[in-house]
Amino acid sequence: MTVETILFYVFGILAVVSALGMVLNTRNTVASAMSLVVTMVSLGAIYLLLEAYLVAVIQIMVYGGAIVVLFLFVVMLLNLSTDEFPPGRQRLIKFAFVIAGVVILAQVLIALERDPLLAAQPAAVPNGFGGYRQVAASLYTDYVLLVEMASLLLLAAIVGALILAKRKID
């Protein structure tokens, strides 16, 4: 039981709990958003443990700092009231969903159990693995097209969001 393993379990449980909190919270939407932030940050911590340093930082900055903030903006802008509990008849459907979810989960876990590769310990990584230098070197040489496409996508998203959210000009 190394420190890393313990930290991993801590952050893992934190992520799951806050995820559940986000999904199951029907009273307060802002609270859901806050739970989402906690999940994002825990995941960022787990990335650090997995030696993906740049990705971790970007996760926290972009997800926790931008995306969830965007959610909060919208929530406050719309001044949303609470969500109501679904009527009793739909409980059955929810139950079905839950079963489906459990089935998915079971499948993945069983798949994991069968694969021996995952049980083995991963090899040690060299210095600088996951650091910004290596990411940059790979990103702007092997995957430069991907960068261009991503930028195009973001441009489209910006323009789209602007048009969609704009008030009509009377």
Binding site: L36, Y47, Q59, V62, F97, A119, A150
Partner: protein, 106 residues
Amino acid sequence: MLPMDHVIALSAILFTIGVLGVATRRNLIVMLMSIELMLNAVNLAFVGFNRIWSQVEGMPVIDGQIFVLMVIAVAAAEVAVGLGILLSLFRNRDSVNVEEVNLLKW
């Protein structure tokens, strides 16, 4: 060393929670947030696998992390556009209940 199969299992759990959120909740914003959760779970899987297969012929590879960066970019774009749609919807119907968005039918 981290137990890698537990990393993947965590990813699966988070994904399932996200799926349940999308399928169960009626609030559009929470649905969008659940989608984000699903994307995050996938990111975790990517990073985990990248950690496992971190060396190819002696050279370190970080392709999984590159992909995670792309996923984050896409998620950001998607959230922006999604929330824009949500705003328009709200202006038209004054509600973000997904059951009111039901015109795509027979």
